[in-house]
């Protein structure tokens, strides 16, 4: 805890410099507002409850897409990682689709699925899918064959081997992919909301920018920053609990 003090001092020093620069006009206060003002706006957004509806919408669509993408990727990844023929069949297709920058698909998805929730959930699921898929294939393959053979010797069936041996052994890989996907998912849902302007924190943020409400823009940015930070912290916590036995 003590080691956090210099870091906090540094942060406050930077904010202090910006505060003074903005108030004295060294930087244009109209585009870089004093941090204290932004903090006030942020508190207003939080205490008035204005953040609840947009944030809930964003998180709901994020999780719907994220869980769909992760679920499908885990299923496909375990199949591709366990059975060589399945891997051979789908590997070229994966290599073809993986490098597509997923936000570039947004215009196409909008044409097909419109501007609503379906489109947003789909793009998040697509973006979340590939990092989890690649990690799941790798993780499933990395499971020690001796462990699987031993389990088989002791009469474990296929389902039992999967549940008791493969899943726990490969879990750190799966979770690493899911962590990357969560960050990507947040980027993509905010992006989709900005392009469609029908609710969510991303839409609120871009509306504030269009209306040139500078302080509000920064205030809502803080909401999203805090969301990103909390999601990451939450994931780290879950990851530690699920893989408590893996030292690294």
């Amino acid at each position: 805890m003590i080691t956090l003090i210099p870091g906090a001092l540094f942060l406050f020093a930077v904010l202090g410099v910006v505060e003074v620069a903005s108030r004295t006009g060294i930087v244009n206060g109209a585009v870089i507002p004093p941090p204290s003002m932004v903090a006030m706006i942020f508190l207003q957004i939080v205490t008035s409850g204005a953040f609840v509806a947009p944030l809930l919408q964003t998180l709901e669509l994020l999780f719907a897409g994220y869980l769909t993408g992760c679920g499908l990727a885990l299923l496909c990844g375990i199949l591709m990682g366990s059975f060589r023929p399945v891997y051979n069949l789908f590997e070229p297709l994966t290599e073809l689709l993986r490098p597509i920058p997923k936000p570039a698909l947004l215009p196409a998805l909008i044409l097909f699925l419109g501007l609503g929730s379906t489109m947003k959930v789909t793009v998040v699921a697509l973006a979340a899918f590939f990092p989890v898929l690649i990690n799941t294939i790798q993780g499933t393959r990395s499971v020690d064959v001796t462990m699987i053979d031993t389990a088989r010797t002791f009469g474990y069936g296929k389902a039992q081997i999967l549940w008791r041996i493969v899943l726990p052994a490969a879990a750190p890989y799966y979770l690493a992919g899911m962590r990357v996907s969560l960050a990507i998912g947040l980027v993509v849902i905010v992006m989709a909301e900005m392009l469609t302007s029908n609710g969510g924190v991303g839409a609120t943020l871009i509306d504030m920018q269009h209306e040139f409400k500078v302080r509000q823009t920064y205030g809502w940015l803080a909401v999203l920053a805090l969301t990103g930070f909390s999601l990451n912290a939450l994931f780290t916590w879950i990851e530690r609990r699920l893989t408590f036995w893996s030292a690294s």
């Binding site: 540094f10 947004l106 947040l186 823009t217 990451n232």
Partner: protein, 253 residues
């Protein structure tokens, strides 16, 4: 190679299904042009130079931002790894800012940097910075302290020790960070161009969607995918040449 035959057949079959679904009238939609129509649009737009100008301008902004973010990332990473006060001061702020979704920064950055080149370069630089800095720090941490003690014993200046000992040892990690960032840089360029201004492949994509010119839109996505794939391949080649010694040492060990 033969083991991939089935997979390649699958890809071809899906493309044929795409083509056939339009040719035989299974799907009637302006949003769903035949694969051959998309390839035609790609060929035509590349040949008349329109798409090349657009992707070229995007690549230029991307590389500017990528270079900026990489240089700052490696420098800050080395400073954090080598000087404890710098680590104590900077690390909490970096950990605090790292999970901020880059898309959320775009509107605020528009106020400061406008809608054009500077905005996109800054967005790319910010997105590039974090993976590079984190990897540089963990790379520099792998340097055997004895090596540094040896340089001190022989009175080698610190700057030289950093260049000749720390940097090479951290290089595989730094390169891993740079490769992650390269993929991110391209995506962020497209994101920023889609959200602000009227330049580059990102804006092209959005404007083709508004104009309901689906073939051009898909052509742009295919081109972007080819660029992303090529960049990654080129980087992998460069990377394996640069750190060949790292792998041979691993093999010897």
């Amino acid at each position: 190679m033969t083991s991939r035959a089935a997979g390649i057949v699958l890809v071809l079959a899906l493309l044929a299904l795409w083509e056939g679904s339009v040719r035989f009238g299974l799907v009637h939609s302006a949003n769903w042009p035949a694969f051959s129509t998309v390839l035609g649009a790609l060929y035509q737009n590349v040949m008349d130079g329109a798409l090349l100008t657009v992707i070229g301008s995007s690549m230029w902004r991307m590389l500017c931002g990528y270079a900026l973010g990489s240089i700052v990332g490696v420098s800050v990473g080395l400073a954090i790894a080598l000087y404890r006060p710098v680590r104590l001061a900077l690390e909490p702020t970096i950990e605090l800012l790292r999970p901020v979704p880059i898309t959320a920064l775009v509107p605020a950055l528009i106020f400061v940097f406008g809608l054009d080149d500077r905005l996109k370069i800054v967005c790319v630089a910010v997105a590039t910075f974090f993976p590079v800095v984190v990897n540089t720090v963990s790379g520099a941490a792998t340097v055997d302290p004895i090596y540094l003690q040896v340089t001190r014993t022989f009175g080698i200046p610190r700057s030289m020790a950093i260049r000749r000992v720390v940097l090479p040892a951290a290089l595989p990690f730094i390169l891993a960070g740079l490769r992650t960032s390269l993929a991110i840089a391209l995506v962020v360029t497209v994101i920023a161009e889609m959200l602000a201004g009227q330049q580059g492949i990102g804006y092209y994509l959005v404007s083709m969607q508004y104009a309901l010119r689906a073939p051009e839109m898909y052509a742009a996505i295919i081109l972007l995918t080819m660029v992303a794939y090529t960049l990654n391949r080129l980087f992998l080649m460069w990377e394996s040449r640069l750190i060949r010694w790292a792998r041979t040492r691993e093999l010897e060990a």
